[in-house]
């Protein structure tokens, strides 16, 4: 089986390095960063932290080098989905492309470029320490499910490979539940960290901010319910679980990392996505709209 990771940042690297442990899987990685790609090709892709792994794989910045693949796993930042899949679509003419990205709307973007798409959501997190080296902050599950007419059996094949490689993954008929659970989790916590500069644990131990988080969660749940989506777990429980010292108390949300580095955030696909789906289904989302506008303001301040 040949799998190409499209976007080998922190999350993409977790999949790439773990899948590369399997004898029967050939792993490729497509990424925009030349130093990262070079380091991977010379020294392998190293994970440390929650798990210590070195994966041997082929990495490239040139999509023309990619061979035909059975599966793609897209892990770019959401705003880069379109460009990344446009560049790599030729490798997936007969393959299936899964998204493990944050936010809403990724499957639709992929489906504009490739025929077979798999919906997905992943919870593990990390950060790029240096080219070729990723810190694995949090372990967690991945859920995959069909999008469009993709058969569940094919989804199971990819899920099985991920699980054997060390990334526990489930294949389910409707993956929107976990996806919305994660979107609601992220939209309700990431921007609060980004706006205040606080880690996840510190956000949660302030009663006023924790109330705001719940207000955002409630709006997200209402939008999910209006679409007939059944969440597979309560985002509130995940938020409290993550706030424990041994889980992710000290975790700086990726959006906070983005804001500190003055990189464009995923706000349009998180809170912006909830607002968009809310409007389509007649569900008011004033708090998500407020948070979206504030983070857009932060991004605008960098142009000053």
């Amino acid at each position: 089986m040949r799998i190409c990771i499209v976007g080998c940042g922190a999350v993409g690297s977790l999949f790439a390095a773990n899948l590369a442990q399997l004898e029967d899987v050939e792993v490729w990685a497509y990424d925009a960063s030349q130093p990262h790609v070079d380091a991977i090709n010379v020294n392998g892709l190293r994970l440390s932290g929650a798990g210590d792994v070195v994966g041997r794989l082929r990495a490239t910045t040139d999509s023309a080098e990619l061979p035909a693949c059975d599966f793609g796993i897209v892990a770019t930042k959401t705003m880069h989905t379109d460009a990344a899949i446009a560049a790599t679509a030729h490798a997936f003419e007969n393959g299936y492309v899964a998204t493990v990205q944050n936010g809403l709307g990724n499957e639709e973007t992929l489906a504009r470029h490739v025929s077979h798409v798999i919906r997905g959501t992943t919870f593990p997190a990390g950060k790029l320490l240096e080219p070729g080296h990723v810190q694995w902050d949090v372990k967690g599950d991945t859920t995959l499910g069909p999008f469009g007419d993709t058969p569940l059996d094919v989804v199971r094949e990819l899920a099985d490979a991920c699980t054997r490689g060390g990334m526990p993954t489930q294949a389910v008929e409707d993956a929107r539940g976990p996806q919305w659970r994660k979107v609601i989790f992220n939209a309700s916590t990431n921007p609060i960290g980004a706006l205040t500069g606080l880690t996840h644990g510190r956000v949660c131990e302030r009663p006023d901010l924790r109330r705001l988080v719940s207000g955002l969660v409630d709006e997200g749940k209402a939008v999910a319910t209006a679409q007939g989506i059944v969440l597979d777990a309560d985002p509130e429980e995940l938020i409290d679980h993550a706030a424990k010292p041994e889980v992710a108390y000290d975790h700086k949300a990726s959006m906070l990392q983005d804001v500190e580095a003055r990189r464009r955030t995923e706000i349009d696909y998180l809170n912006g996505g909830i607002v968009r789906f809310g409007r389509e289904h007649g569900v008011p989302t004033p708090l998500n709209e407020a948070i979206w506008a504030l983070v857009k303001g932060v991004e605008a301040s960098w142009q000053q």
């Binding site: 706006l195 302030r206 006023d208 901010l209 303001g297 605008a300 301040s301």
Partner: protein
Amino acid sequence: MTRVCVAGAGTIGSLFAAHLARVAEVSVLVRRAEHARALNEHGLRVSGRADFTVRLRASTDPGELDADLVIVACKGNDLEAVAERLTGQFREATVMTTQNGLGAEEIVASRGDWPLLSSVTFMSGTKHGDTHVEYILDTATWVGPYRATTVDDARTVAGLLVEAGLKAEAFDDLRPAQWSKLIFNATVNGVAALTGLPHDPHFAEPPLGDLVHALIDEGKSAAPACADDPWEMNVLATQRGHAHRPSMLEDVEAGRPTEVELINGSLVREARQRGVPVPLQEALYALVKGKEASYS
């Protein structure tokens, strides 16, 4: 000649003191001895909208100063400490507060039985050291009676400010004006502190302008009355061409405590007391408090 003591010589205090020194006998009560020494030696210079230097008396000891009018011009966060220092002093004076937010009058009232005026000021500037203040926005100061004073007393003080070259107006009841400014400040300062944006046209256009509008609507729903429409104040301020950096933004960037409690906290507490839901203002308040907490 009227004797005026300005307590607190930050930007606003310095602007009051320097202008008034042209028409009154002005002293300044400051916290740092070197600040007092510098003012006594070099006087106080104003640049920007006006350009002049005045001599005035400065001291760290309220016992050395006397006045008919005391203008309390410190930042809200220093008000308790300054009011404490006024206790038992200036027995013949009328005292006027100028702080942002609500509740400054109560704090001063609890420290002595002076007749009290309250005021809100919209002028702004920047301090360039202990003896130089730049006068940036020459917007008005509004004065009203608070305790054992009448609108005539407010008119006298407003008249003195106008004579000194500042803009001022007297009101029978200052509360509607205070609410206008409270809603304006809570919204604009809070949004600026969280986004890092100065008060520029983003505040009047989608998407941020929509949020600003919604925050102001919430504030108005909690206000017993408003003098000027804070949304119009916001739009006008963003059209001046010069983007003002609200003090809360400067505080956050410098890692200093902000006036969030006096401004956003006052608004939210008043709304809660009246049973008016203000979820967006609550969110703004919690976020700025969170930002302050991130310093440590």
